[in-house]
């Protein structure tokens, strides 16, 4: 496999793992932001 073809996802078995991780991270951030808004309102 050449460097150009290298597409193995690091840390996760596939890129789907990364995609889910990014989306979950966003969800967690939104929840935290919502809690901050409520806490300091």
């Amino acid at each position: 496999m050449t460097q150009q073809d290298n597409d193995k996802a690091p840390f996760f078995k596939s890129w789907t793992g990364w995609y889910l991780f990014v989306l979950l991270f966003l969800l967690v951030l939104i929840i935290i932001f919502y809690l901050i808004t409520k806490r300091f309102a």
Partner: protein, 579 residues
Amino acid sequence: MSQLDWIVLVVTLLAIVTYGLYKSRTTHNLDGYFLSNRSLPWGLVLLSIMGTQASAITFLSAPGQAYTDGMRFVQYYFGIPLAMVVICIFFVPIFRGLKVYTAYEFLEKRFDGKTRTLTSFLFLLQRGLSTGISVFAPSIILSSLLGWDIIWTNLFMGGLLIIYTMTGGAKAVAYTQQLQLIVVFTGMFLAGYMVVNMLPPKVGFTDALEVGGKMGKLNVITTGITEKGFNWSDQYNLLSGIIGGFFLALSYFGTDQSQVGRYLTAKSLRESRMGLLMNGIVKVPMQFLILLIGVLVFTFYQFNRAPIFFNDVQVKKIEQSAYRDSFYLVQQQYDSISALKQNAVVAYADARHNNDANLADNSLLTLKELQKNSEGLRNKVKGWLNEKIPGGDGNDTNYIFLRFVVDNLPVGLVGLLIAIIFLASWGSIAAAINSLASCSMVDFHRRFTKKKETGEDEYRLSKLYTLGWGIFCIVVAMFTYNIGNSLIEAVNILGSLFYGVILGVFLVAFFIKKISSGNVVFWAAVLAELLVLSVFVLTKAGVFKMGFLWLNPIGAFGVVAFSLLLQGILNKKETPSVD
């Protein structure tokens, strides 16, 4: 500025230019000049993507935006992680697989040359103009702060970066962005630390958040839903951030050459994807922290006297106008209210520490009432500037953070923060100029000149295009004045006028396989652009109200809908009649 500040500023700027020139050695062909020979690791790609998106106005406007409107602006970035995922799945593999220089090259392979030319032209138009604003935005602020003529700040801002961008191409852009971001983050972190440090001794970070929150500045999540239903004219809320922000980010990162050109420099598909996904992870928290600095500055000014208006140049205009005496009177009232506010906020902080809920509530009520009064006085001054004083500009959002820096931060740090304005600007402007040159060279020059050129010739011409676009952006900056809104918004509004349509063309290319006619997509794009411009004009004329972020989905879906419609008409014409 002190002598030390000047030394810090000049040394930082010269170090970046020198570093850019040092890193500018690259192969003398288009692959080397525009794509760094597709050799960069994901970390550098990430910093390049971030450095391209985050301009000086990101760092200047955002704290000011939080100061005036609270932190809800962060919702604007919620679409980015979603867009990063979609781009990694659909866009990057195709761009890399076809080994294109520009995103628009793909459209010729999918449709025809005409569609490629149209999208590339729309890109050049909006990116060229918005880069001009990106030169002007920090220049006007520096001009106000340093007392320099705007012509010189424009030339200084745009001129120095042209040296390394022209010499080193994409490689110099990426390496300097790395260094620029390190300096920018260090400076912003120090500024945030200093704000908290300058609060009264008993007032800590959580107290500052309490005050900011109770005064309505920690409104991170807003729904946009009112008693009358969803407010479509509300610029920043959860829904517009996720949907509108998603389409804007998809257009910007997926179809804007200034970004596509960054992740095409990666050494493999994996490195491109990692750079984009990491951007999806770090961008929202980063923006949150920048906005938080604005809230802390707001809290700082509850304990200290705030200027009634943060742009000194505009204040001088009032002082030289017929409103001078009225202004002094308003300022006296404002200062008296400031003193009362300081007492109320200290009483509130003390009551919180002593667990005296009643006193805390009463002090807070007083503080809110006083804040309302002082805002009323500020609005009066803004009104004079907007409506009564020729050449006046009542928007001081971009000046709030810098005014705070110059008035309050220690010697040396002020020079560093001014350097940040230059560095953050250079990062995004250099990438934009590089991408404008690549589109001009690859999408236009290469296609429309009959002369066969060698790699060395193309390299030389690419440098000339880079120089040409650099000069064009400085010229646009010279003619930009008083665009009214916060400058970060002006750039985003300009982008929203074209991005949706460009994205729509790519959506048809990726997802609607049955449409293969270039004519169909071309005319669908033209119609959708007219639709977007009409909607924008109608909202400006007050016919109806709508936030600018919605222009992105309208443009994108407009192209898709018109394409399907035109394809349907074409199919009908081609189907032989049965009778």
